[in-house]
C-alpha cells in the first residue's frame, strides 16, 4: 500500500510538472496550447545541445535552457498568437496545432528520429524512502511538482505581475483600461508556461526519453490533468496530477496495466460530465 502511494505521488509529481504550464496558459489566455508537448520535447533537445556544446552538467544545461525556452515562447506569443487572438479563440488554437506539426518536422530534421535521453547519473540512480526503493528522478519530479506549484501560486497572489495577470485573465479590456499592458502580460504568461514545461522536460529527459513525435503522449496527460483539475487552477493542477497518479497506479494494480489509458481517460470523461469546469473551479486561483 505504501509502495503504491509513493509511486502514485511520484507519478503525480511528474504529471503536475508537465501540466502546470498548460494549465496557466489555459486559465489566463483561454488557450489550449496544442504545441505544449513540442515545447517539452524541444526543451529536452535544447538541454542535450547545451550539455554537449558547453560540456556542462545536465542540471546546468537545464538552467541555461530555461530562459531560452522562455524567450522563444515570448516571441511566439507576441509574433504569432497575439495577433490571432484578436480574431477569436479558434485561430490561435489552430496555430498551436500547426506549430506542433512544424516543430515535429523540425525535430526530425535536426535531431533524427531516434529516441534520446539526457545522459546523466540522475536518471539511473535510486534511493530508499520509508523502506521502498525509489528513483532519484521520481523524487525530483515530486519536489519540482510541489515546488513549482507553490512558486506559481506565490507569483500569482503576491506580486504585481501576478495581480496584472489575474486582472487580464478576468477581463482583458478592463485591465487594459486600467493601464495593464495585456499583450505583454499574456506573452509573459505564455513564456512562463513554457519555462514551467521546460522544467518538466528536464525530468522527462533525465528519467525517460523523447523522440520527435513523443510530445503528443505528454500533451494528452497534461490535458487530462488540466481538465480534471480545472483550467487555470494552480492547486487544482497539483491535486488532479496526484489523483491521476493514484488512479493510474491503483488501476494498473487492480485491473491490469493494459487498462491504464481506459482508466485515465475514463476518469477525464466522467469529471467532464459531472463537473465540466473541473474539480477545482474555473477561475484562476
Amino acid at each position: 500500500m505504501l509502495a503504491l502511494l509513493l509511486d502514485a505521488l511520484a507519478t503525480g509529481g511528474l504529471y503536475a510538472t508537465v501540466a502546470l504550464g498548460l494549465s496557466l496558459v489555459a486559465g489566463v489566455m483561454r488557450l489550449l496550447n496544442l504545441a505544449q508537448g513540442e515545447f517539452l520535447v524541444g526543451s529536452v533537445y535544447l538541454m542535450l545541445l547545451v550539455g554537449k556544446t558547453l560540456h556542462v552538467d545536465p542540471l546546468a544545461a537545464v538552467l541555461v535552457a530555461l530562459p531560452v525556452v522562455g524567450l522563444v515562447a515570448y516571441g511566439v506569443q507576441r509574433g504569432l498568437l497575439q495577433a490571432l487572438m484578436d480574431h477569436g479563440g479558434e485561430a490561435p488554437l489552430v496555430a498551436t496545432f500547426g506549430l506542433s506539426i512544424a516543430a515535429q518536422a523540425l525535430f526530425q530534421v535536426g535531431f533524427g528520429p531516434a529516441a534520446v535521453t539526457i545522459p546523466s547519473d540522475y536518471g539511473v540512480t535510486g534511493t530508499t524512502v520509508l523502506g521502498h526503493p525509489m528513483r532519484v528522478v521520481s523524487l525530483l519530479a515530486l519536489g519540482l511538482g510541489l515546488g513549482l506549484t507553490v512558486l506559481t501560486h506565490a507569483l500569482l497572489t503576491h506580486t504585481t505581475y501576478g495581480r496584472a495577470l489575474r486582472a487580464a485573465a478576468e477581463d482583458p479590456m478592463a485591465a487594459q483600461s486600467l493601464g495593464v499592458d495585456v499583450r505583454h502580460v499574456f506573452a509573459l504568461c505564455f513564456a512562463l508556461g513554457a519555462v514551467l514545461t521546460a522544467a518538466g522536460a528536464a525530468v522527462v529527459g533525465l528519467g525517460f526519453s523523447v523522440e520527435p513525435a513523443s510530445g503528443l503522449l505528454w500533451l494528452l496527460r497534461a490535458v487530462a490533468v488540466v481538465v480534471i483539475g480545472g483550467m487555470g487552477s494552480v492547486w487544482g493542477t497539483l491535486a488532479a496530477a496526484v489523483l491521476l497518479g493514484l488512479v493510474e497506479e491503483a488501476g494498473a494494480a487492480l485491473a491490469g496495466p493494459e487498462y491504464r489509458d481506459v482508466i485515465m481517460f475514463g476518469l477525464l470523461v466522467l469529471i467532464l460530465v459531472v463537473r465540466p469546469t473541473g474539480l477545482f473551479g474555473k477561475a484562476l486561483r
Binding site: A3, A114, G123, R135, S138
Partner: protein, 392 residues
C-alpha cells in the same frame, strides 16, 4: 512532298520503336514507411536498403522482363509513423503511381495494412522485419499476394534460452512485454517454451505502448527473484525500463530486448547502461549471400546492430522481387506472384525459400551489445558477458 513526308514519318517511327526497346518503361515499386514516431529509425534503415538495391540494379542496366530491360523506379511515401495512413498510401501507390509491386515496412503495425492492400488490389508485395506468426495470424485463410522473409517466432524465442544456457542463473525469468501483436506472440512463445527449456516464468508485465512508469513491475520482478529479463518493447518504453531497473537496483544476470535493443540508438540513449543487452536477429556482419557485403560497405558506418540488418532485409526484398520479375518474364500480377512463391535462391540475407505458406523463415541468432558493438553470441562468435554489465 508526300514521299518525303512518308520517309520522315517512317524514320520517326523507327526511331521511337528503337527508343522504346532501349529505354523500356520504368517499373514502379512502391512502399509506405514510417519516418516519424517510435519506428522512424527503422523506416530510415529500410529506406536505405531499398534505395541501395534499386540503385545497384539500375546501375547494372535494370531488370530484364520479357526481353526488355526496365529500370526500377522506387516510390516511397512517408506515413509519419501512423499505421492508419498505410492502407490509403498503398492504394495511392497502386492506383496513382501504377506500382507493379509493393515493398513492406516493418512490424505487424505497418506490414499488415500494406498486406491487406496487396491482397485486395492483387499486387504482389515483398516484405521483411515482421515476425512470421504475428503477420500470418492477422489474416485468417492466409495471405495471397503478400510475401514475408523474416524470423519465425517459435525458433527466434529459443535464442533466449540458448543464450541463457551459457550463464549460471536461478532460471527465474521476468517478461516485459508491450500489449501489441509482437508482445503477445513473443510472450506466448517464451511462456510455452520455458518449462521444457528448464526455466520458470516468475513475473510477467504486459503494458500498453507509451508506458513510462515501470517501478511497480521492476520491484515485482525483483521480488519474484527473477535473474533473467526478456523484453519485447518499443524503444522509448524500453529505455525508461532499463533506466528504472538500474535506478531501483534490479540487477538481472541476463537481459534481452527485442525490437528495442537492436540499433545504435539503444547505446546512444543509454550509454553504459546498454552494455550487455541481448537481442535476437537474423543477420550479422560477415554473414549472408550476394549483396550483403555491398550493404555493409555502403551502410555499415551509418547503421549498427539490427538496424543494419533492417537494411540487409530491405535489400533482400528488392533482390527477391527483381529475381521474380525476371523469372516471370512479366509484371502481370498473377505471373509475378507465382514467381515470387517459387523463389529458391541465395540473396543478401542468405537462402530464401517460401516454405511456410507465404513466409520464408530466416534462421535466428542472438547478439549482445559489448563495448558498443552488437556481437554474435548464438551461434558463438564471442563469449557471453554475464551478468548484464550495464545493469550491474
Amino acid at each position: 512532298m508526300t514521299i518525303r513526308y512518308t520517309r520522315q514519318a517512317s524514320a520517326a517511327t523507327l526511331l521511337l520503336a528503337t527508343a522504346a526497346g532501349a529505354f523500356a518503361q520504368d517499373l514502379v515499386v512502391g512502399t509506405s514507411l514510417p519516418f516519424a514516431g517510435p519506428f522512424a529509425q527503422y523506416g530510415e534503415t529500410v529506406r536505405d536498403g531499398y534505395q541501395l538495391a534499386v540503385e545497384q540494379i539500375n546501375a547494372k542496366g535494370g531488370v530484364m522482363v520479357g526481353g526488355k530491360t526496365h529500370k526500377l523506379k522506387l516510390v516511397i511515401l512517408d506515413n509519419q509513423g501512423d499505421p492508419n495512413q498505410v492502407a490509403a498510401q498503398g492504394r495511392k501507390l497502386v492506383q496513382n503511381e501504377k506500382a507493379v509491386a509493393l515493398l513492406g515496412a516493418l512490424t505487424p503495425m505497418f506490414n499488415v495494412p500494406i498486406s491487406v492492400v496487396a491482397d485486395s488490389a492483387k499486387v504482389p508485395l515483398v516484405m521483411s522485419l515482421v515476425p512470421i506468426d504475428a503477420w500470418q495470424n492477422a489474416r485468417k485463410g492466409g495471405w495471397h499476394y503478400a510475401w514475408n522473409i523474416y524470423a519465425h517466432e517459435p525458433e527466434a524465442t529459443t535464442m533466449s534460452w540458448k543464450a541463457a544456457d551459457q550463464i549460471t542463473t536461478n532460471k527465474k525469468v521476468a517478461l516485459f512485454l508491450n500489449s501489441d501483436d509482437d508482445g503477445e506472440i513473443w510472450g506466448r512463445n517464451w511462456a510455452a517454451q520455458a518449462q521444457a527449456a528448464g526455466y520458470q516464468i516468475a513475473y510477467t508485465a504486459k503494458v500498453p505502448m507509451g508506458t513510462t512508469n515501470w517501478s511497480t513491475h521492476v520491484n515485482g520482478a525483483k521480488a519474484a527473484g527473477a535473474e533473467i529479463v526478456l523484453g519485447q518493447l518499443i524503444p522509448p518504453d524500453a529505455i525508461a525500463l532499463w533506466k528504472q531497473m538500474k535506478a531501483l537496483g534490479f540487477k538481472p544476470k541476463m537481459a534481452t530486448c527485442e525490437k528495442c535493443g537492436s540499433g545504435a540508438f539503444w547505446v546512444d540513449a543509454l550509454g553504459p547502461v546498454a552494455d550487455g543487452t541481448m537481442t535476437a536477429d537474423v543477420w550479422v556482419r560477415g554473414m549472408g549471400g550476394p549483396g550483403a557485403a555491398e550493404v555493409t560497405q555502403a551502410l555499415g558506418d551509418k547503421w549498427k546492430g539490427k538496424q543494419l540488418t533492417g537494411a540487409v532485409m530491405a535489400y533482400t526484398a528488392v533482390q527477391v522481387l527483381a529475381d521474380a520479375m525476371q523469372r516471370a518474364g512479366s509484371t502481370a500480377p498473377q505471373a509475378l506472384n507465382e514467381a515470387i512463391g517459387k523463389t529458391d535462391g541465395n540473396f543478401a540475407v542468405g537462402k530464401v525459400k517460401f516454405s511456410l505458406g507465404h513466409a520464408a523463415p530466416v534462421p535466428s541468432l542472438m547478439l549482445q551489445w559489448q563495448g558498443g558493438q552488437a556481437l554474435r553470441i548464438v551461434p558463438k562468435d564471442v563469449a557471453v558477458i554475464a551478468p548484464a554489465a550495464g545493469l550491474n
